[in-house]
Each structure stands twice: as C-alpha cells, then as structure tokens.
Symmetry: C2
Subunit: 192 residues, 2 copies
Amino acid sequence: MARWAPGASDRLQRAAIELFAEDGFEATTVAGIAGRAGVTERTFFRHFADKREVLFAGGEQLEAAFVGAIADAPADTSMAGLLAAALDAGGRVLQDARGREFSRMRNGIITANEQLRERELLKLAKLSHAVTAALVARGIAQVTASLAGELGVLVFKTAFARWIAPDETRDLLDLQREGLAAVSDLTRAETV
Amino acid sequence: MARWAPGASDRLQRAAIELFAEDGFEATTVAGIAGRAGVTERTFFRHFADKREVLFAGGEQLEAAFVGAIADAPADTSMAGLLAAALDAGGRVLQDARGREFSRMRNGIITANEQLRERELLKLAKLSHAVTAALVARGIAQVTASLAGELGVLVFKTAFARWIAPDETRDLLDLQREGLAAVSDLTRAETV
DNA sequence: AGAATGATGTCAGGGACTGACATCACCAGC
DNA sequence: GCTGGTGATGTCAGTCCCTGACATCATTCT
C-alpha cells in the first residue's frame, strides 16, 4: 500500500461535487475533475467506473447497513421489525456519515441531470435486490421478500425526499418510521 | 416529407436488434448498425438520441395508451377501474403491436446489459410519472395518484415478466388483471 | 420549371473510456 | 543500507459515442 498524496478518491469526489455544483454535470469534464484533485484523467477511471459513479461511491456503505441489519436481527424478528431495523441502519448512515446539507446538495446535482437520475434508479433497484436477497437468506419466501424489498426502498425513497425538503427539520429516522407505519396501516388487514 | 428509401427508423431498429442479439450491445457499434440499415452513423443519431434509445423507441406508444385510457374513462370510474383500463390498453399495445416473441428477444437483450437495464428503469419511472399526471388531471390527489402510478407500473412490470417467461402461454391482459386483483386484495380493507 | 422543404451525407472535433507500458513511492527482506 | 517486490500513478495511443456546421439531394408546392 503505497501512494503519493493519500486520499485520491476523496479528493476526486470532492472536486467532482464542487464542479458539478458550479457548472453542471455535462459541462464539467473528467479531465477538469482530475486536474482539481491533482491527478490524471486516467487515475479518475481507476477509482470510478465512469463519470457518474463518482457521485454514488458511498452506495455500498448504505447497502451494507441495510443488509447487515437484516442479517443481524434476532431470529424471531417480524417482517415489519426487519424492515424497521434495515431502515434505521440505513438512515443512520445518511444522517451521520453524510449529513443533511451534503445530501441536499448532492440530490440537487442528481435531479438536475437525467443521466444521474437514471443512475440513481439503478442504484435503488440494486438496493432493493440486496434487501430481497438478505430476506431470502433468512428463509423468507422469494415473492414475499421481493415485495418487502421494493416496499422498503419505496419507504426509504419517500422519507429521504421529505428529509431533504427545504423546511424539513425532523429526523430521517422518524420520517422513515412514519412512512413504514403508514404502509403498515395499509396492509395490516392482510398481515393479521 | 421527402426521403430516399422510406422507413429509415424501422430499418435502424431492426438492424440494431439483430446486431445486439448476435454480438451483444457493447460489441456492436453505431456505425455498424447504420451500415446494415444503409445509412450513415450521423443519420442514426438524428433518429435516436443515443445508442440505447433505439431499443426503447416504441415507448411513447405504450405511455400514450396508458394515459389515453385514463383520460377517456367515464367520469365515475373507480381508481381500480382506471388502473385496469390503463393496463388493458397498455397490454394491448405490447400484445398486438409488438408480440410476445419480439418482446422476449428484446427483453433478453436488455437484461443482458446493465446500461440497458438502467435505461429501462428510467422509462418505467417516466411511465409511472405519466400515469400519475393523468390521474392528477382527473382531480385525484397528488399523493394518491403517485401511489397508484407506482402501483400500476409495478403490476405491469410483474405481469410482463410472467408473460415472457419461457413456458407461459396465458394472455398478458389476463396476467395483468390477475396481478391487479392480488394487489386489490392486499389493499381492500383500506379502500372500503 | 423553379423554389421551398426536409431528410441525408460529409467533415471536423470534443469528450468518455480502455489497454499497454513506464515510472515512482513505499515496504520487506537481506 | 541496499535491493527487489508491490501497488498506485503517469503517459500514450486509440476507439467509440455524440454533436455542430454545412453541403447535397429527393420530393412537394407554386
């Protein structure tokens, strides 16, 4: 493990976000990002698969939180409990490791560009699949797990959108629990 | 309206599907597609915004069917009735204008490549938004319409996946109605 | 016939991304 | 302390996607 100035990945991410915010995604060039980070364009592509990916680097962390919470839950945890645990763990990642202001800025960049919205949809779909797989690993039927996976991500997405809304001050975890409760209300008759 | 050999768009789509099926999406070049269609690479990009879009050209047609069915439904149609009408109209487009075998081949190409899966997610999200907008235009509350829009697309996606499964012989419209009924069961307690 | 229109061809070029190879900083072993 | 190994970076050449500008051609309208 040897390198010149440590943290090239971090510098690239920071540089990219700054430039995207200033000039927009399409107007900024990878060479420009690399230049601001003090590396070569080629190095950028060794750290990130493509130009969009630099904005979605923390994704594995979020996914790991979701999956880990499901895997580590007590054996007798209900489905609602599993989803709640996963959402709590994921929400904590966003709230603590990222922060609301950062998430707001990042989200502004993403929603301003269709290529980035596209990539975000892919990431959410992968998150949904990961949650589904984690549920299946606990012995839950594929169909049920798949539905729960999509549902969990839907709640996450909705709560996140509210969390970064201009005047919102509530906790992300609270918003997630509220959303989950609303869904639970809708499906309670079936669950019981 | 003047042109050389008519139907350049169709020829490009056909050529693209053939080449994607033979060599894969990444291995085939836009110049190759254009060459097989008897046009220039530049002409390809005048018909399709990018290399992926050639596979999603019929999308507006599907979206129009969904939206039109919702807009044209009688004033007193229930939400379930609106979704059923939209799904029927959309399903007919796929079944009649496209056909099951074509859909199978096209779907095989898409699922084999991440860039194409990504684009498909974007198209489905847009379809969902279009449905939501059509419902809002009928005076339905934004929140309800949004939920229904996502739900409708979810049912569509699920039924479509079953429709193109290897041994499936049932009608797409039947599969959609079945899926809608299953969702209806899940939410009946709330609706009443 | 001649003008208007719209689709296509041609050309030049930027920017994303990749493979191959050289180079440099650091670490381990002698 | 020197030397070789390792991993990250730089350099270079090249392919492919995609775009703007301009010329050209077939069809349609007058």
